[in-house]
Symmetry: D2
Subunit: 460 residues, 4 copies
């Protein structure tokens, strides 16, 4: 039996090392289920349109049903001689039902077949990832809810800026993840287009019913141009890109958590179950999970990059280069799945260092410099003037090595007459966050409302 | 006059080379218009909410209106001491209206201001690029329409596959560009979120009306989390990514055109106005425009990559690293604008080589191998068997150095009894494309319908 | 038995999915041999320096020797609980020799141990790749030698430029590969630095003899700074970069071969053993090997990129992110090995299309435009003037649709009096290449000399 | 006057927007000096070989000398019609000396000319960058020398590992930079190959003396293959790569400095001259220089990436795509120059926080866990056992919230009898670093020796 889907034209067989090099079977088994489902729909359509006889069609459908079952059970065995998943399914089918199998590949080519398999895979994975993202969001919202009132030094440039609620910062990651879901959703909609029937590149002379196949496979649309249908890998890029941005967000979360769990920041603790130790330093509890997730960002970028570079300048229509899109996409999807599950679990175990007391935070009075400036503005100063004055006070205290609150009121009045005794109540973290009024700000009431909004939204 | 928006706290001035290195003024003048419009809306809101007094507010609004006018006229002069566009506008305003200008920067920070400017820029450019893409699509559709019946060897692996209409292939690029528009549209909608009011990172203690500002600036939504609002650069990535994919598509078009215009392929001619010559070889007419556009793909990738790498692992909230997003985005947008206009013009000038006669194409009879196989299938053979048989015929003729059509019918019958004399009519390019029936195929009637569909769609 | 090299400090065990996610054992088995050899040298040194007792040292050395043997035989079994190759070797050793194994990890850490393993691996692979490159060079030189006099249209911008020897072009690839070897050699020398003894990051309090270890392991130098020694991954980048440039060169070779083997160019044939067919088009013989090798370029870039992005902004010293360097490097090395072997075999099977006759080439007389210009220069014209005149002749003939050689001498003389009847002998490809005189040019005698030079050089 | 170096063959002129798009004159003015010097050498050679007449040769040389002078003075004016630097020089020359200028372009093409210019540029810049790196190294060594005995918590995973000298860590950056110099040096040597004479791609029929030109321009070798000579851009990649790795190192330095200058770490202060403030928070002194330098890493990667992607799959020989190598290389070189100068100045202004007292460091006794384990090993325990025991002590103290040093000796003895009262002297940072003995370790004597080695080495 000629196990290739081609071969009649060849005098000699393939170089062994090349054969191994070109085989995609190691990774495209991910597509097995989709390949079979796609063939089932295709054969149903061929039969309905009377393009292939009834009997072999029925025989193929029975055979494919059994193969699908064995795939779902995880017992499907791939023939080692198969060069790709399409051949593997064909070989298995032929072994089951004999020569009737030879009718299956009518009015299609591997070019449109692989496009179909990939789009089915893509649509499925988009949904899965969106669900997992929602799971991580829920874990973050819970963490925020449990610790809603904890105040930390808000950072810009990793330098103390002004007091913020830790819960407010945690919700920032939730916002990022929401965009990640939206990006995946958009990608999913753009790729919801059934390519089968494009055949090699020009369409087919059989009177197939592409809309019927699309309906069976739950695609909303059919592709409108056969050359584009077999040449397009935009949907691979879109998903790989969406995953890359998700990982970028995750890397920022990881960076923050690694920082907050240092001895120096001491804001929170990473659960031991997501740390490892050192072979030489007995005391170490290293945040390895966070570091590896951060590093995976580089790998997700590399996958996107790999497909972008591969596609650049490829003439129409199909070129074999395009095979490499699979490995990259599958790897990114797998990494994102793992990362989302692991991070959600990790977040559940984070413990806040309640001992990270307000007094430590309040000991850095420069955190209240903006509050001082706003104080002056509310008494009628232009903001720029208020800003300059407070700047001078800060540098004065820094140079003298004293606290701002230790400056007597008359000295403050020398800088601005607007200062009054109530200025001393400014150096208070709780007051500072409560004072914020704008929508989306770190004000505890508003943050609670945001938490409620998310809880509601994520429970739908 | 202290020309910095800060400085009160500093004892010493900045290192000169660092000052130049850190200045973004060279490229962020792109934002001038948006910065002023954003400030106008901000000040209107501050005034409405009575956060700043009426008189300075009016004074600021008048001053900004004049500055906006000078920007639109292209005569706005940027103070060389300004470190960024926000400072430049402030300096210009202060020169015009004096100390009233110092009220403008109330209840905002450069962190949210730059996010606003960038989003306004992004929304504008998304629309512009979508329009330019439609222009290129129209040029391609016209080219297809003018040459609707020209048949070329359809290629896979740059090897002869089967006859296709050149117009069909041209419409494949139109499909790609349609996805590019969709990608930009999605990006535009995701970034339609007004960030002002986030201030440095925590929001503000002034009772501002963010929805009002959003309305004035025609944003659909306001951002919900102040820390995220100043830390987010997803919209930069989304647009840079959409542009990268557009360039990837363009690079494939360029590759095809370069190939088709070689002496060897001889399918079409690139207009001289988009070629250059050689300083040494007098005969040369090189397709430089196409090559440079293809190469620009690498630059658009690099811009995307640069921002992705820059953002990786950045802790919340704002970090100065993020400044570099501007240069990359502006460059990608500019390149895409140029590329779209240039390519549309180039397409208008492409001339098909009518002399690329059918006889040349038909001299390679292997182009009709699939037609032969389909012939057998329609007579009842399983496709796999038909494929194998035709493969053998092809290799037989190749080895003998003869044409397939020169094989006598009895020899063909030895391979399959299904062959009859009508098989010889298969070796005909026109018949081959007309024989295609499936939706989206290269059948001339269907391609004409596609052209009509596009003409209609693009004229809306 | 605690199978971790740490753990005393931990209350709870690791999350299962995280544990799997963080394990590098799947890919770092590549290091098994180096890890054992490194440990042998380390223990010999510890014993020599009397840091560990004689008996356990001997016991360890015997155990490691057996493990090394089983690795070489391919029968070494890795404990599934092992988190990395260092743990796997330790577990295997402990099972063989019991508690004496616990002495092995004195005065080192996994941080310096993995740096050592990786550098040993790197040094080995650099040599292997250099050898394989030489093999590919030899195959190319043979191909050039066999076909030394075949003339093809030399291309710039894929447009006809002037006649060149195909052998000359093939030697261009050999030059590229020579630089690839040089790049690898430089990388190998830069990484020839023994890091062991840096321990976690600070060095050790044991009086170890690092030079002795280096000598045993054939390193030229020892690292001079323990923090750098465990933080440095430059050598990974250097090799990944050298491989990327090699793949870039290979992609250009592939592009040329794909082009030259099209029906349109028809210059050469790719051996069937490196092609595959189509599941739908029986005639197809696609150059899949070349396409996949070209696409692998993108993957090699992605590997380099991944490590570069991962390393950016990592604080000193070791961070877990750095683990991901291995996967990327191993993949690039493996791909380069495969690519080199496959390409060398493919090159051996390339057959030149002897039928690609000179007459086809000479039918495009514009290939001789420079020869015409040089003709005029040699008769005293300034080059710029000669260039302009020939340009006009070319465009005149193009517009009239006539051959240059069909222009009567008096018409030519109207353009330049310098033209004489001997100008007609210019339109001859052999003469054109023979006319070249400069070193490194396409002159057949000089190309033969180059072939001889390479044969000699590669046989050393 | 036809200002193009070609044009005779063209009927129509170029599209205006394309002409602007394709012009490289904005950035390739960097090459002006090299272009003129290259032409001077070329014309001297042509004259020596009697390929062009004596008089025009002399005239050209005089004209070029004047142009060179005006370039050096910064007053050379580039004709706006010039499409590239070669044309600009030709136009300027023709304006100066008339038609004699038309002899200059004999026996060369812009293809080899630009390769020459770029290699001359590359060789120069390699030397400059090496010098600037040495300058930064000197600044770092000085900083280390001034603060040689300051002890900080050595970090892995940004978690406390064990005490190290800050000077030791600073020397780690010096090591990295040393490799950067080596990488540049290797790149410089590989590109020291004179390409002129390759002409368009095939060499020339004039009997030029390439070795003479090489000698005049101080190249060690001439290129051996004309097709390779005009197709090769490896040297651009090599330098862009070397700069990328330098920036990666710099980004790690920046990350450390940003971290060490936070309120939380408080180890050192960044000089104000390299910081900027906030437009809203008067107290801020943000480490902007360090952040921007860190971000520039992404840009240097992008430049490398851009050229790598552009070169992938380009057929031989020259293609216009290759023009884009210049912009990327020039930008990387310029950024590296700036970064090196700025960082060296910044380093000079770093002030150590002498107040970062040992007591703060010693309050985290887990830093001495390895010292405790080594203590046990020196008393005869196997390292693995010692490690496990100390691990248990650490977790015991952590759970109880007590200091290790507060555990009474009898409790310690319950864990290991080897413990004796001298164990309490272990919790001492100075002792810990002094205890290190291995070469390259953080031992103060060894670090001083390293400083001396560097001072000596850098003063040569």
């Amino acid at each position: 039996m000629n196990k290739k889907l081609w071969g009649g034209r060849f005098n000699s067989s393939q170089d062994e090392r090349f054969w191994k090099f070109q085989s995609s079977i190691d990774y495209d088994k991910e597509l097995a289920e989709y390949d079979v489902k796609g063939s089932i729909a295709h054969v149903k359509m061929l039969s309905k349109c009377k393009i292939i006889p009834y009997k072999p069609a029925q025989s193929i459908l029975k055979g494919l049903a059994k193969i699908l079952e064995s795939i779902k059970k995880g017992v499907f065995k791939i023939d080692k001689k198969a060069e790709d998943i399409h051949s593997a399914v064909y070989i298995a089918l032929k072994e089951k039902i004999g020569s009737a199998a030879d009718y299956m590949h009518t009015a299609r080519s591997r070019n449109d077949q692989v496009a179909l398999d990939m789009k089915m895979y893509a649509k499925d994975k988009v949904l899965l990832l969106m669900e997992l993202i929602a799971g991580l969001q829920s874990a973050l919202v819970s963490l925020a809810k449990k610790n809603v009132d904890i105040i930390i030094p808000g950072l810009t440039h990793i330098q103390h800026a002004m007091p913020v609620l830790l819960s407010h910062q945690i919700l920032a990651y939730v916002e990022m993840l929401e965009r990640d879901k939206a990006r995946l959703k958009d990608a999913g909609q753009r790729c919801d287009e059934m390519p089968l029937g494009a055949c090699a590149l020009a369409g087919t002379s059989f009177t197939i019913d592409r809309r019927y196949t699309a309906k069976l496979l739950r695609f909303s649309r059919i592709s409108q141009n056969s050359i584009d249908a077999v040449s397009d890998r935009d949907f691979v890029l879109d998903i790989a890109y969406a995953i890359s941005v998700f990982f970028m967000h995750l890397s920022r979360f990881c960076e923050d958590m690694v920082l907050f769990s240092t001895a120096e920041f001491g804001i929170l603790d990473i659960p031991e179950a997501f740390c490892t130790g050192s072979s030489i330093m007995p005391q170490k509890k290293n945040p390895d999970a966070l570091e590896l997730l951060r590093a995976s960002t580089a790998e997700s970028y590399a996958n996107l990059y790999s497909v972008m570079v591969m596609m650049k300048g490829l003439p129409l229509a199909y070129n074999r280069d395009m095979q490499l899109d699979k490995k990259a996409l599958f790897d990114s999807v797998k990494k994102a799945e793992d990362a989302l599950i692991i991070t959600a679990e990790l977040v559940k175990g984070i413990t806040l260092n309640k001992g990270y007391a307000l007094d430590r935070l309040e000991s850095d009075e420069s955190l209240f410099a903006l509050d001082m400036a706003d104080y002056l503005v509310k008494k009628g100063l232009a903001f720029k003037d208020a800003h300059d004055m407070v700047g001078k006070i800060v540098v004065h205290c820094l140079n003298k090595g004293i606290k701002i609150s230790s400056m007597p009121i008359n000295e403050l009045k020398q800088i601005s007459k607007k200062f009054d005794k109530d200025i001393y109540s400014v150096f208070n973290a709780k007051k500072s966050v409560i004072a914020k009024r704008s929508m989306g700000s770190t004000n505890p009431i508003l943050v609670r409302q945001q938490i409620d909004r998310w809880v509601k939204r994520l429970s739908n």
